[in-house]
Symmetry: C2
Subunit: 239 residues, 2 copies
């Protein structure tokens, strides 16, 4: 499935790629040039693994384009999606948590492009680049917050509310305005949605069908558009 496409340092990565991304936004052109010169760039086909849980964390990544799902697989083969990462964020930052292996698997949801650096540069980045650590820990804090919320959700809410919540979160984070509503910006199956909400694809499908009849959402294959976010918010709070 994976053919390890060779990483290449593209002839000339433009500084503007990074200048507006939080971890690098306080840096000067010169510093960004240095950073880019150390980076490898690579394109990933949809569904490919950027790294796998348990692997030793050789590199850390900056997602420049696309979407990535952070997934964990149980011993019995079930998948649980922990998180979605949109472009502009770091991933695989095991080092920031004092780990030397990746804690989860990163799978691309769409075609994606990511820069990466050898993990050994991490400490240099933290030490040399003002704001890098701070911003990194901010996104980390954000992710921890999300995980926390999911735990609370799963512990206290019904399936219907969880699915509604998940949909809203996806729309907020990765929504693209289209006519008649907001569409989730990457292909997502009922199965994906069920792995995100700890239910079965059957139940997810039934819920979506129901909501579609009520005009809350519209969905084609692998595409979900939310037409009435407010109604979903109601649902997500149990009426």
């Amino acid at each position: 499935m994976e053919q390890d496409a060779p990483r290449k340092t593209l002839p000339r990565l433009d500084e503007s790629l990074l200048t507006h991304l939080p971890p690098f936004s306080r840096l000067e052109r010169r510093q960004i040039r240095t950073i880019l010169n150390q980076a490898s760039s690579r394109r990933y086909a949809p569904g490919s693994h950027i790294f796998d849980e348990g692997e030793s964390a050789e590199r850390f990544f900056m997602l420049l384009d696309g979407y990535v799902r952070v997934v964990r697989v149980t011993s019995t083969g079930e998948q649980v999606t922990a998180l979605h990462i949109p472009s502009g964020q770091l991933l695989g930052i095991a080092k920031a948590l004092g780990r030397d292996t990746y804690p989860a698997t990163a799978v691309t949801a769409t075609e994606s492009i990511a820069l990466s650096w050898p993990t050994r540069l991490w400490d240099t980045f933290v030490a040399d680049y003002d704001g890098f650590a701070t911003e990194t820990y901010k996104t980390l804090g954000h992710r921890v917050g999300e995980m926390n919320n999911r735990i609370v959700e799963m512990a206290t809410q019904q399936v219907e509310q969880r699915v509604a919540n998940a949909l809203l979160r996806l729309v907020n984070q990765t929504g693209r305005k289209v006519e008649g509503g907001i569409e989730i910006d990457f292909p997502i199956t009922r199965q994906d949605l069920s792995e995100l909400t700890a239910t079965t694809l059957h139940t997810a499908s039934r819920l979506l069908s129901g909501w579609e009849k009520l005009g809350l959402v519209e969905s084609k294959r692998k595409r979900i558009k939310v037409c009435d976010p407010h109604a979903l918010v109601m649902l997500s709070q149990g009426r």
Copy 2:
């Protein structure tokens, strides 16, 4: 309920309190003295709140003695326990995640003693004390890992397995060897256990009763002793 007992800088905190704790273990006596001089010490009765979710994070803490439960409360008043923290660990380290409010509530499970410092000293600690940041992020990484595992558990396992897992985790982290088994070192009710495993106290009670009949555990009020850990491991893995 809380009468804000005055924090006092105890006459003479002994350096040996901190020398063996990871975040401080690489420091010299002189540095530890400085750190202690800036600390406030306080005793907490069981069940008291060290800080509450959403409060602005004025201070960070080192738990010297006791156990703390990290809890989140939903809008409908249900409690979900995210984590147990044993003595020797930092808590309330919002700053490490780039936050300026506490992400959850910390409640003491036993009588506890904690040192605390104003959050404004955080950056100083990170900058001045070798190994402080590294060790902090290690425990953070560990906690994130735990949260992750709980998500996967809750998503894929049955109640029985989750409760078995929770018990094993508690025993591993805070177990005290007693005759006939290993006992959880702090008072824990069926209700607590259910909040830890996303179930009801009824179900938790039934499970414990069942296991007690099989000789896997023994429990008095607020006390649980695991007699046959191996059998519990079996259960926790679905037979």
